[in-house]
Amino acid sequence: MSEFTLSELKEIMSASAGVDEGVELDGDIADVAFADLGYDSLAVLELCGQVERRYGVSISDDAVAEMPTPAKAVEYVNALLAKAGV
């Protein structure tokens, strides 16, 4: 079974939504709100799209509300992958 990791999330965020100078995606960001990292809901939607394509799963747009921080996003995606048996 695949596991979605924080480093994978960081990689996707920097490729698809960009990184501002001064934002340390490599630092301890797991529990910092996406908004405080400079990402809006579109960035989280984009993250969902990337996960959908990589793992062939479907994520509802409403799921954005379940992903306020990187840690919560990783948790949500892993729960989804487990459920889908990916």
């Binding site: 698809s16 939504a17 934002v23 579109l42 960035a43 939607l45 984009e46 799209g49």
Partner: protein, 413 residues
């Protein structure tokens, strides 16, 4: 009426340029004075199979060096140029937006194409892979208003914001709108435009108007008012301008700025086949009346300079009827950049303000023999040091848009 009773128009206190003539006000101005062209073979894609292969491209632009990293994958190249130009214009005006009330700062930009390059990339993903491959940022990056929105968010400007889509006339129409907003109480307006549509999809869309030149020589393809005029070449980029009330600029110690927006008018052409005349002459006359100046007060005209022979004759005739044959210097530095659509007239205004500040009329590179019916005094060969105080900028957008703007040197009555 005493001088103190004269209502002074708003002033331009800052300019940011990202254009084929270079990045930055000084680089642009030196290129214009030297007649250094920014037109070359299209580099953003291989144009070999297209009938138009030359365009004006911004040299050495690096989004990584000029805008926040997060915004690079989220926005189109045209927005990158706009964000960079807006930041330069604010710095040039000596404004820190954090010092001003957020609801008193406005953003109005001109756009003719929206984010076509970004859009093309996402459309390719759609038809190659499927809907889930289209990025979330497509939802905002292709909008005409994307550049306005991103400037507004980046600098915390929450006053009246909008976009005007009037093709090449838009760069003047946004300044007319900026003036209106200043009169309504806006303290500062970021205005101007930077289109960038040099991708296959964007170029093919432009080709549909049949006005682009297919002459296979970058130095001879765009020759407005010339006997060999064959249409125009496209370009990317433009300029952003900071517009403030004269009082507001003085109060914050910004001085008199580059110049005053003294008059503006817009007009729309009658439909093809109509017996009514083109709207350009009336538009120019109304802009002069709005500025309270007579034709003899105008020291230089920055022409629309379409390069399409019939459009050139219409413009030359409007100028001759307004000013008399050959009685005002006319120039078109846009032959160095190509027509920049939403950014074109904004860059012309920037160039005109620099001409007023430096007292020099830049020349037009390219045209050598005026076409019959173009009885204008086209400044060519070299710049003229005539100390212009009042400039008229003319712009027309495909589809019938006409606009004229009168600028006065700061400090002249």
């Amino acid at each position: 009426m005493s001088t103190s009773d004269v209502v002074t128009g708003p002033v331009v206190t800052g300019i940011g340029v990202c254009a084929p003539t270079g990045i930055g006000v000084e680089t642009h101005w030196q290129a214009v004075l030297a007649g250094k062209s920014g037109i070359g073979r299209i580099e953003r894609f291989d144009p070999a199979r297209y009938p138009v292969r030359y365009a004006g491209q911004v040299p050495g632009f690096s989004a990584q060096d000029r805008i926040p990293g997060r915004l690079i994958p989220q926005t189109d190249h045209g927005t990158h140029l706009g964000l960079a130009a807006a930041a330069s214009a604010l710095a040039d005006a000596g404004v820190d937006p954090a010092d001003l009330p957020e609801y008193e700062m406005a953003v109005v930009t001109s756009s003719s194409s929206g984010g076509t390059e970004f859009g093309q990339h996402e459309m390719e993903r759609l038809y190659r892979h499927g809907p889930s491959w289209v990025g979330a940022y497509q939802s905002i990056a292709w909008f005409y208003a994307a550049t306005t929105g991103q400037i507004s968010i980046r600098h915390g400007m929450r006053g009246p914001c909008g976009v005007m889509c009037c093709e090449q006339a838009g760069g003047l129409d946004v300044l007319g709108q900026a003036r209106r907003l200043v009169r309504l109480g806006a303290r500062l307006v970021v205005s101007g435009g930077t289109d960038a549509s040099l991708c296959p999809y964007g170029l093919v869309a432009q080709l549909s108007n049949r006005r682009l030149s297919t002459v296979d020589d970058p130095a001879r393809a765009y020759l407005p008012f010339d006997v060999e005029a064959s249409g125009y070449l496209p370009g990317e980029g433009g300029a952003m301008l900071i517009v403030e009330s004269a009082d507001g600029a003085r109060d914050r110690g910004a001085g008199q700025g580059y110049g005053v927006i003294a008059g503006y008018a817009a007009g729309f052409d009658p439909p093809p086949g109509s017996s009514r005349p083109p709207a350009l002459r009336r538009t120019i006359e109304r802009a002069l009346a709005d500025a309270g100046v007579t034709p003899s007060d105008v020291d230089v005209v920055f022409a629309d300079a379409s390069g399409v022979p019939e459009d050139d004759v219409i413009e030359a005739r409007a100028l001759v009827e307004t000013f008399g044959p050959g009685s005002v210097p006319v120039t078109a530095p846009k032959t160095l950049t190509g027509r920049l659509y939403g950014g074109g007239a904004a860059l012309d205004v920037a160039t005109a303000l620099l001409a007023l500040r430096h007292g020099v009329i830049p020349h037009t590179v390219g045209p050598t023999r005026l076409a019959p019916g173009c009885d204008i005094d086209l400044v060519s060969g070299e710049p003229r040091n005539t100390g212009p105080r009042t400039a008229l900028v003319v712009a027309r957008g495909h589809g019938g848009f006409n606009a004229a703007l009168v600028l006065r040197r700061s400090g002249s009555d």
